[in-house]
Amino acid sequence: MQQIINFIIRNKTFLLFLLLFTISLTFTIQSHSYHKSKFINSANFLTGGVYNSVSNINRYFNLKSQNDILLQENRELKSVLYSSQNKNDTSFVKHYADNKNYKFSTAHVLKNSYSSTKNVLLINKGASDSIQQDFGVITSKGLVGIIDNTSKGYATVISILNTTSKISAQLKKSNHFGTLTWNGISPYLVQLIDIPKIAPVMVGDTIVTSGRSSIFPKDIPIGVINDFELDTAENYYEINIRLFNDMTNLEHVYIVENIDIAEINNLLNNRNNE
């Protein structure tokens, strides 16, 4: 007993080092699996508050470019609205009627990073605005990510520039779908894998969300095909996609909530239990 205590006292620095190193390794490994980083995230009172107050100042410097983006979006929406009224195009009516299962709310991006391989955004809406895990986040131009952790007033978003993020996406002109991933190299290019060899893939084709995941509605734009090649087994394409969104300059985002998500999950769980 005496010897054990002596050993502990003699090596106390090393033991403390070992303990702290293990703790931090545990946090690291948790952060590498999807939706597991419960404890270490910036959606808390202190870090959220600091980022919020700094973002209040920074916002003034981007007013001009953000106004341009909002104007452009307004112009697109106006043109959709008036052309659909004039032509009485039923496909537009149907398109917007289909999307009534989704509720949209707005938020500001407080913190954005794109230099690491696991990029996480912080936004200024949280649990008190009834934002929950697994809601989608988009901008007027395209996809941004999925809500991860929420606190009372803030939420973190796993960006599509995160090597753990996997989102279902498809070709716009045909229904071949695959998984959207990121290899961690360029913030302007993401990768679409698992597109079957039979699909008609061309450089410049548009990629949209597939609506299969019950997080995002169908047909949210993502980007255009930059280049593509067959994978090593030569059965599937690996496609580099140039994003419509400039992920390095995000300010206003929309949060998408699928109203039917509880019903869908319930149905899927019942199916699995049988």
Partner: protein, 167 residues
């Protein structure tokens, strides 16, 4: 003694704020950021007990992790260099360290540069291997380590020169 505690507390908070609000947003050439907050570990007074030092370094890393949503990578890297610091001190300063009389303000510039570079490189290698966490991306890890280290070393040396009090 008290002034030592206060000055280190001040240094801790200033370095955290500076790192989180300024340096994390530099993104030079898209991905190169300096991590100058390790100046806290580099310049921590040597006479203090090691156990407090290791714990404070862990706290420093964890604070940065909280701000940058990075799991525990900064904490792990900080704890490692804090634990290994005596080895680097002995290697770089030799006998001055043995007599416990180092003042970082008036040591030779060459050995100070060596000391800062070695600690920075070790920190960055651990940091980026944990961040990327993938052996097949070894080239990316080394590339990020090299470029960020150069940036960090230059900035750290500049900061120590600017804020050194000649006595």
């Amino acid at each position: 003694m008290n002034s030592l505690i206060y000055s280190n507390m001040l240094r801790f908070s200033v370095l955290v704020i500076f790192q989180v609000l300024v340096l994390n947003h530099i993104n030079f050439l898209g991905y190169i950021n300096p991590y100058t907050y390790i100046l806290f570990i580099i310049l921590f007074p040597i006479k203090n007990t090691r156990i407090v030092f290791v714990f404070l370094s862990f706290l420093m890393g964890l604070t940065i992790d909280f701000f940058s949503d990075s799991g525990g990578i900064h904490a792990a890297a900080c704890v490692s260099i804090a634990y290994a610091r005596p080895i680097f001190l002995k290697f770089c300063f030799g006998t001055i360290y043995e007599y416990q009389t180092i003042k970082f303000n008036n040591v030779e510039f060459g050995s100070k540069l060596l000391y800062i570079s070695l600690l920075t490189l070790t920190h960055h290698i651990i940091l980026f291997s944990l961040e990327i966490f993938n052996i097949s991306n070894v080239i990316l890890t080394l590339q990020k380590t090299l470029f960020s280290s150069i940036f960090t070393i230059i900035l750290s040396v500049l900061l120590t020169v600017i804020f050194s009090r000649k006595t």
